[in-house]
């Protein structure tokens, strides 16, 4: 009797495989809305822990203490995050770009991290169009064949980064500021030369209490367009970079326990909205959310 209330959707987000041989994982792959396993196939959700390629001076003091034993070595930090804390992915922030370290040196560092860990790596620049366009293609080339997820790729620099990423077998993150139409616009540009099922959309994220409602609805709308309205230009997985936003809130700076709760609550809400990958900074929140969704 209740069958008549179930829906089938025309759109589909394909599976995205990341990582080199022996370290592969599958992200997303769904033909229904988030957590709608009662009416279709839901996608695979993946949890990344963030690692900085240089000592992160702007992280909350609790996190600095928590990672005190590894924070000066990106390889050791990444290894611990994957092997001890159970991260599905390492999200490597290239903070060394702020100090204008030469691109070749940064890229060599990325390669060392990617080879040290048994999980795939996401490599993330500063979001500054010139600096990213100078460094990320070098990373793509040096790490050729490692099947990284590289970003952010912006409207202003997509050709410089995406063409090199494609040539060397990487997937990319297309970043736009919280607007479904801008997401569509950038994906249409990328779609002319880059397979959209190898693009992950980053529509930017806000923490609970700091604009989460915008991030939530933007993600939800992108996913509805892709699945319900079969908009081919938006059929890409979504990433929510939660850790950075959660740990800069007043609440997280006051109290480490509140930071964990804020990070977990924000991440879980965005998974409900449609995120396929969430990036976090604390393993405790990762474990809480992972236990909830698995």
């Amino acid at each position: 009797m209740l069958e008549k209330f179930l829906e089938k959707y025309p759109g589909e987000i394909k599976e995205l495989v990341l990582g080199s041989e022996g370290k592969k994982i599958v992200v997303s792959g769904q033909n229904t809305l988030p957590f709608h396993s009662f009416e279709g196939k839901t996608g695979q959700l993946k949890f990344a822990l963030e690692v900085s390629d240089s000592e992160p001076n702007d992280w909350a003091p609790w996190l600095q203490e928590f990672y005190a034993d590894v924070k000066s070595s990106p390889e050791a930090w990444a290894k611990k995050s994957a092997e001890v804390f159970g991260a599905d992915l390492i999200f490597l922030s290239l903070n060394s770009m702020e100090k204008d370290v030469p691109a070749a040196e940064i890229a060599a560092g990325v390669k060392r991290v990617a080879e040290a860990v048994n999980v795939p790596v996401v490599v993330f620049g500063l979001g500054e169009k010139e600096k990213d366009a100078a460094v990320l293609p070098v990373v793509a080339e040096v790490c050729s064949g490692l099947n990284l997820l590289i970003g952010p790729v912006l409207k202003e620099n997509h050709q410089e980064i995406a063409t090199v990423a494609l040539e060397h077998g990487h997937a990319i993150i297309a970043q736009i500021p919280m607007d479904i139409n801008l997401a569509k616009d950038l994906n249409i540009r990328l779609g002319k030369y880059f397979p959209l099922d190898r693009v992950v959309i980053d529509p930017l994220t806000c923490a609970a209490g700091y604009g989460l409602d915008y991030a939530y609805s933007t993600m939800e709308r992108i996913r509805l367009s892709a699945v319900v309205h079969d908009d081919k230009t938006l059929q890409s997985p979504l990433i929510a970079r939660v850790g950075k936003e959660a740990w800069k809130t007043k609440e997280a700076i006051q109290d480490a326990g509140k930071g964990i709760v804020w990070e977990a609550a924000t991440a879980f809400s965005l998974l409900l909205a449609g995120a396929d990958i969430v990036t976090l900074r604390h393993p405790e929140s990762l474990q809480r959310v992972k236990a909830m969704v698995s």
Partner: protein, 454 residues
């Protein structure tokens, strides 16, 4: 989905062309328009057949009925939602949050939870809290359950949710708390005995295992004359919660399936006893249509995070959130304070005020009225420019409040520095960081510069 006036008109006498004017309106179509907007009642038309009347009553009924639980300031009103996704309009009525107390728990635990009903949390000028207490009967002693009801009645003004299987006990608890307009939870097993003794105006929650059984019980309650219903499908997992809430909401809104045309309740304890996991389940309930969410317990951290999330999801996306346009003194601002200027978009304000507080340095934060637009959008529409900023600086007499006539602009509008210098010749205009997160560093460096200059 609002009802169309033209669809109503067709059912009115003579296909809505009688136009007798006896209802006080010029035409049947005008009457239909008023009906669609709930501006007039059906009894104003004296020519309706019983059949047409029933049909119209059904059409005009909200797809999800409005239900209230509790009394006074703690009254929780839920239902009458209109959309599946918040961006389609807005979610109107935030779910009522409940703490569950079992009579089998120790009395210290009763008291600790009752104390939490007094907790409140303010954000964006709104106070939120848990307004409901769910009372479950796990002891073997009926007297104990009634004692718990009495205690909660005496020590709180919260609304009550009565969860006890035995019909007599449930009715006794209802008698003891009826002045509070409690929600009485009924199952297929006790329905017959409870329903005949409850007044039809009581708020009743149909608790059933699964959606089919729920539709059945809801139908029976409706038939027995109860209107103020809440639905509890007894979801036992996250997947179950998503399925049950989505199907009920969709059936009510998109299919007008009447047995599901009521707000819902979700008891997190049916999934897990782990209170951290219960908090995340509650977050799913908030995002996905639950009308009442019942938790076993809550920590101070989870209390704040959950109520913040609830406020986020239930923010009206059609209205930008704003704070009052004025000068905010932070960190005990005095004449040594630095003057920062930004917009009255609430999210900008909270980011900037939060980081300014983190700096521990005195700050006057001037929030320009931009109608809730952020810095760049306000600049591009002219509500945040050199003239408007200068006008507010003068009106607030900031020059008399601070020693250092230095005004810090958001980094995103560095381009207006020159024009603002012309408007405010007595002030030095500084360009601040683009991101609020860089403010503490900026402010401490500014302080050092001032000290070395002095």
């Amino acid at each position: 989905m609002p009802v169309k006036a033209s669809d109503i008109q067709k059912i009115l006498p003579e296909n809505g062309k009688k136009n007798c004017k006896e209802c006080g309106l010029a035409t049947c179509f005008a009457f239909a328009m008023k009906l669609a907007n709930a501006g007039i009642t059906l009894d104003k038309c004296t020519y309706l057949s019983a059949e047409a009347r029933a049909q119209l009553e059904d059409m005009l009924q909200a797809p999800i009925r409005l239900v209230s639980i509790g009394q006074g300031a703690r009254q929780v009103v839920i239902g009458e939602e209109e959309v599946m996704f918040r961006h389609q309009k807005t979610f109107f009525r935030a779910p009522g949050m409940a703490l569950q107390i079992a009579d089998g728990e120790k009395e210290e635990s009763w008291s600790a939870k009752i104390a939490k009903i007094g907790w409140q949390y303010e954000r964006l000028n709104k106070i939120s809290r848990f307004d409901l207490v769910a009372l479950s009967h796990t002891s073997a002693d009926s007297g104990k359950y009634l004692q718990l009801v009495q205690k909660v009645m005496a020590e709180t003004d919260a609304g009550l949710i009565l969860l006890a299987a035995e019909p007599e006990l449930l009715l006794a608890a209802y008698e003891a708390s009826k002045s509070r307009n409690p929600l009485v939870c009924v199952t297929a097993a006790n329905f017959a005995q409870v329903a005949s003794h409850l007044p039809k105006s009581a708020a009743v929650c149909a608790c059933a295992d699964g959606l089919e059984a729920l539709a059945d019980l809801s139908g029976k309650l409706k038939e027995a004359g109860f209107e103020n219903l809440v639905l509890d499908p007894s979801s036992a997992s996250l997947a179950g919660l998503m399925r049950d809430q989505t199907v009920i909401h969709r059936a009510a809104l998109l299919h007008k399936f009447r047995p599901f045309g009521f707000p819902t309740m979700f008891l997190a304890a049916r999934v897990t006893s782990d209170t951290e996991q219960q908090m995340l389940l509650a977050a799913a309930g908030v995002a996905k249509y639950a009308g009442i969410i019942v938790l076993d317990d809550i920590s101070p951290e989870n209390f704040q995070a959950l109520l913040t999330l609830r406020q986020d999801i239930y923010t009206d996306p059609r209205v930008p959130p704003t704070v009052e346009s004025k000068v905010y003194g932070l960190n005990e601002a005095d004449e040594s304070a630095t003057v920062l200027v930004t917009t009255n978009f609430a999210l900008t304000y909270y980011a900037v005020a939060g980081e300014a507080e983190n700096s521990k340095l005195p700050v006057y934060l001037l929030c320009q009225d931009t109608g809730g637009l952020c810095v760049l959008a306000a600049w591009s529409t002219g509500t945040f420019g050199p003239e408007t900023i200068a006008e507010m600086v003068k009106k607030q007499a900031l020059a008399d409040k601070v020693t250092y006539k230095q005004l810090v602009l958001p980094g995103y509008v560095a381009r207006i520095k020159g024009d603002l210098e012309e408007e405010l010749p007595d002030w030095e205009i500084l360009v601040g960081p683009r991101e609020a997160g860089d403010l503490p560093k900026f402010l401490s460096e500014l302080k050092k510069r001032r000290e070395s200059a002095a």
